[in-house]
């Protein structure tokens, strides 16, 4: 292996460069990453202005909230953070309800400063960031949908095909055992990946936008009563929040898989498009 020439030959056999992501997909992916994180963090700052989730047309309908984050006195003079989920209260000091601000002092706030944009309590600025990123997110999303259909990206790469249908069980076992496809199989998404991307692209992302629009008094007036389809404006606000956290869960799994299946190779394929297919060496 000390002979550089021989090493090249071995590498050529083991790694086969493959053009994985087209330029439009790469650009739109990173625009989406930016918009998503701005939307998420400014959204948490907006949530902090009223850290309660209700179900129904209004917040005051006699029913208890589904989620309520607050601060309370623990009886000995210090303040604790509390999170109430469906009637069960948990102490969440340090993370939810009460956390350390940028000056290191404990302060009463629902989500902590490191998770919100801006860090300090600042609703109007968070709204400015949120709507700015929302426009980028929606325009990027529309272009992506148009491209996905026109270029057959959805049909070719995302929608499960005949062979995928039979491989759901095997793919599930492979994931559970952290066994990842090599060689030819690594050139396309596996069936669980395809299903996940389908749910994210065609269900969660449009739904989170729709539930955002459902909170706008003006957009409500264009089709009066349409928000009642999901139970009313406060239900829409709750769904907006829940879907956002489903997307956070997706991003968590996505980034985890990117790391464990070859961080640099995956990252490069989303930057330059090049992905090395590693063929398993036979003994």
């Amino acid at each position: 292996m000390n002979d550089p020439l021989r090493a090249d030959v071995v590498n050529a056999q083991a790694r086969q460069p493959y053009y994985r992501h087209t330029l439009p997909v790469r650009i739109m992916h990173w625009i989406n990453v930016f918009a998503f994180f701005v939307l998420l963090m400014s959204g948490l700052q907006i949530f902090n202005a009223h850290p309660t989730l209700n179900w129904g047309k209004s917040s005051y309908n006699g029913r208890p909230p589904l989620l309520d984050i607050g601060a309370a006195s623990d009886g000995s003079g210090s303040t604790i953070g509390t999170t109430n989920v469906l009637g069960h209260t948990f102490e969440t000091t340090g993370l939810l309800g009460v956390s350390r601000g940028e000056d290191g002092e404990l302060e009463a706030r629902a989500f902590p400063a490191w998770a919100t944009l801006p860090g300090p309590r600042w609703l109007s600025m968070a709204r400015s960031w949120h709507f700015f990123a929302a426009w980028i997110f929606v325009v990027n999303g529309i272009v992506y949908f148009a491209y996905g259909f026109a270029s057959r990206h959805f049909r070719r790469d995302i929608v499960p095909n005949e062979t995928d249908r039979g491989s759901i069980g095997r793919s599930l076992m492979d994931h559970l055992r952290f066994r990842h496809p090599h060689g030819e199989a690594a050139k396309h998404y596996n069936v669980l990946q395809k299903i996940t991307y389908m749910v994210v692209i065609f269900v969660l992302l449009p739904a989170v936008v729709l539930m955002g629009w459902a909170m706008s008094p003006y957009l409500n007036s264009l089709f009066p009563g349409w928000v009642d389809i999901v139970g009313g404006r406060q239900s829409a606000r709750t769904l907006h929040f829940l879907i956002a956290f489903l997307l956070v869960a997706f991003v968590g799994v996505h980034v985890f898989e990117v790391i464990v299946t070859g961080l640099w190779n995956n990252l490069r394929s989303m930057i330059t498009g090049r992905y090395d297919v590693r063929t398993e060496k036979k003994p």
């Binding site: 907006i46 949530f47 202005a49 009223h50 309660t52 047309k57 209004s58 917040s59 005051y60 309908n61 006699g62 490191w114 944009l117 801006p118 860090g119 300090p120 600042w122 609703l123 109007s124 600025m125 709204r127 400015s128 960031w129 709507f131 700015f132 929302a134 426009w135 909170m215 706008s216 008094p217 003006y218 957009l219 409500n220 007036s221 264009l222 009066p224 009563g225 928000v227 404006r233 406060q234 606000r237």
Partner: protein, 254 residues
């Protein structure tokens, strides 16, 4: 480097990068060019409204069954000024709503005169910028009827509402502004009744603006004077309202 120290190093790098990004974003929030860029979104939102609105789209109206048990009071609950206290003590019999600015006929109306104007009753949802909603039944004079009496000049582009309250002690009084599309909208009222009773002080007595297709902060309470103007630059901080001067969007339809 051992695996644990490498992992620690990676985690520390990620958290350092994160705090640098956060600090950067907070600096951007304080810079003028960047906040101006963010404001592009507000122009686009206004554009959506202009492109879809013909003054006809109506805010959703609800049934009695949807009414919130009590209507939440936000902001000022009782204006501190001596003048307001005197008017309130007298049951607002001495109250006069002044209408001026770019109008042909300036007005000074008593509550009885306002109650005699064409009115509207509506059960609507009040959406606060903070995120909560409350449903209430409002009765009030249609602002369009008042404007027909005052006859705005053709130069008038905004209706400004001057209020009796200030949110900080001794601070600037609350004010708000809307454009002519919202001013002439069927659901835009100067409300004097809430849930079939005289409008309580904590909800804005004697008169409170209802602009149902926008957020709660647009709906000025304790309205004392209405002015028609051609621009907002010379009023208050120049952004068209108390909260707008603190950085909130003038167009609050979203």
């Amino acid at each position: 480097m051992s695996t644990t120290s490498r992992r620690q190093f990676l985690l520390q790098s990620v958290s350092l990068l994160g705090s640098l990004l956060l600090a950067g974003c907070d600096r951007l929030s304080h810079s003028q060019w960047f906040t101006r860029m963010l404001a592009v979104a507000e122009s686009l939102n206004k554009g959506v409204r202009k492109g879809t609105d013909n003054r006809l789209s109506m805010a959703q109206e609800f049934s009695e069954a949807d009414l919130s048990p009590s209507f939440r009071s936000n902001g000022t609950a009782r204006p501190a000024s001596a003048e307001y206290q005197r008017l309130a003590a007298g049951g607002f019999t001495d109250y006069r709503l002044e209408v001026g600015g770019l109008v042909t006929t300036p007005l000074s109306l008593s509550l009885d005169e306002i109650r005699a104007l064409p009115s509207r009753t509506q059960i609507t949802r009040h959406d606060c910028v903070e995120g909560w909603s409350a449903i209430g039944k409002w009765k009030g004079a249609r602002l369009s009827a008042l404007l027909q009496k005052a006859q705005p000049s053709s130069a008038a582009r905004y209706v400004v509402f001057r209020c009796a309250d200030s949110l900080e002690e001794g601070g600037d009084p609350y004010y708000e502004s809307i454009d002519m599309d919202d001013a002439y909208h069927e659901q835009t009222l100067l409300a004097y009744e809430l849930n079939d009773s005289i409008l309580p002080v904590e909800n804005g007595a004697p008169l409170r603006l209802r602009v149902e297709r926008q957020l709660g902060y647009k709906m000025a309470k304790y309205v004392m004077r209405i002015e028609l103007v051609d621009k907002l630059d010379d009023i208050g901080g120049g952004h068209g309202g108390y909260w707008e001067d603190q950085g909130y969007q003038w167009y609050a339809g979203i």
